[in-house]
Symmetry: C2
């Protein structure tokens, strides 16, 4: 058990949920962007959000509404202890972009508190507390951003009752190019366009693909990974919410991306590439397309992040 | 290339399609039951079905209606050659039982002809011809019985256009207990009860399970294999066509089966077990339940058959 400290700073990475075919059940962690969170214990008996930097004033610092404080409180309530602490949150990622911003804050919060309390929980045992943060942010306690941000790597959520998270192998040379067109897509709208029912044939194609994606990851077969990452469920419905989605996809695939789809509920799009050079080419190509259409973007290039949330100096 | 022969005898094994969660996309091969097929070249220029043994007179020996001859003819047509041959088919398996009887005959036919012609095709290249036999038998050219009977092992059909078959790892100690209650379930009826559409939530559970089943197979994790093999799509609809399905499932799981579901469209049920002793116990337990209900059964116990169709003496 590490020595107890009174303050700590952590970094929780952004995540790509769904991974095309694995709607609502798969996700992976990238190196950046991400959230920095500082936590300082105090004797107030209350969790306070002292400061939020980089959110453009959009996030609430009400401890009952902020995902980091809600997640920490869920953990403390579960342990049956009262502990005061101050949170300083530095958002180093765009909000509402489909990169798991609320999940990253919740993960950072519970991970930081767990460290300061002497690590009573394993990382995977912290996931349910972070999910309570997601419940405040999104209305439902999803794990497909929280789990990869916490654990790192590529994860599969097989079941919610009970919560069962499976870490999948990460092929070396697997790089992710992320491009965030700066337009607003409300998660609410992205949920509303989803079909309530799907044709059985569509389901069959989707569960063939999740199965073969896992086979591709276990065998480091990039061709199979690329072919399997096609989404017949969410992408057809959500693509229309993202400006020039079709053009971005064409540009990415033409430039060698193995697959291309929507990160979470968008509007960020992502490409899976073999190797850094390929990912860089693909990212530039998507960015250029958006620049030509006069839509500003943020972009990030990263291998799959095997670490998840970490302590930083 | 092996020396050409004028006659050959082959054995094509029965198969378990769907594997619970993998509806329409997964299947595995067992050692028995299966079909024996003898093929003798002649100079007639026509494929004839000389004799069928063990079918109780139910199968057609019209070469345009028998799955073996239809599959062979599809192969010869593709090659653009005329070749006469006589088929003798010995069914060593129940018909219409959900064990891939028509697929086994088609596989046996094309495999035998391929051997006699000096192996112009690989096993996987023969699959599409055998699927033409399935088209005659079932109305659609499915591969989920044909592919495992041909290739052996556990297979995933990721896509039909183009046909893409992925061989999955077979954990040693993976045994299959099969029990065939002797009642008739028409494939037509088993298809008719399937939903045309499924709730999105059901699809999500199903594609989480196919993904985790593959992870379980790659990591020889029997607990994960068992948990993943649950079917939220076909089994709930088809269970009512199989007498005492619920009782059989309870008996199997109580006696240590890792999973239990319907083989193909039924009425055969199957259990996946770790080790032969466990599979034997489970098989006896299901069989006893049916005996108590006065329903006669056939039963088979086998590890996963890694070979698929083979030449026999």
């Amino acid at each position: 058990m590490p020595p107890k400290k009174a303050a700590i700073k952590v970094y929780a990475p952004a995540t790509v949920a769904n991974l095309a075919c694995g709607f609502d059940v798969m996700g992976l962690s990238v190196r950046e962007p991400g959230d920095e969170l500082s936590l300082m214990l105090n004797s107030s008996g209350k969790i306070s959000v002292r400061r939020i930097i980089g959110d453009g004033g959009k996030l609430s610092s009400d401890p009952k509404k902020n995902t980091a404080s809600v997640a920490i409180q869920a953990m403390l309530d579960h342990m049956g202890i009262r502990q005061g602490a101050d949170i300083v949150l530095r958002k180093r990622m765009p909000l509402g972009s489909g990169l798991g911003s609320s999940a990253a804050s919740a993960v950072a919060g519970v991970f930081a508190m767990n460290e300061l309390l002497g690590r009573p929980f394993s990382k995977s045992a912290l996931v349910p507390f972070a999910m309570e943060g997601e419940r405040i942010a999104c209305g439902s306690a999803h794990a497909d951003n929280v789990a990869p941000s916490m654990m790192g790597g590529i994860v599969l959520i097989r079941s919610y009752h009970p919560l069962e998270i499976i870490s999948l192998p990460v092929p070396s040379q697997m790089y992710i190019a992320l491009v965030h067109p700066q337009v607003e897509v409300l998660t609410r709208d992205a949920r509303a366009v989803l079909p309530r029912k799907i044709p059985l044939e569509t389901g069959i194609r989707q569960w063939a693909n999740t199965a073969s994606l896992v086979a591709g990851l276990f065998s480091s077969n990039f061709t199979l990974i690329g072919k399997s990452m096609e989404d017949h469920v969410a992408e057809p419905a959500r693509a229309k919410l993202i400006p020039y989605f079709k053009e971005a996809k064409e540009a990415a695939l033409l430039d060698g991306a193995l697959s291309f789809s929507i990160s979470g509920s968008g509007p960020t799009v992502f490409a899976v590439c073999k190797g850094k050079a390929s990912a860089l080419r693909v990212m530039s190509s998507i960015k250029k397309m958006y620049r030509d259409k006069k839509i500003p973007t943020d972009q990030y290039l990263s291998p799959v992040n095997r670490d998840g949330v970490i302590v930083i100096p």
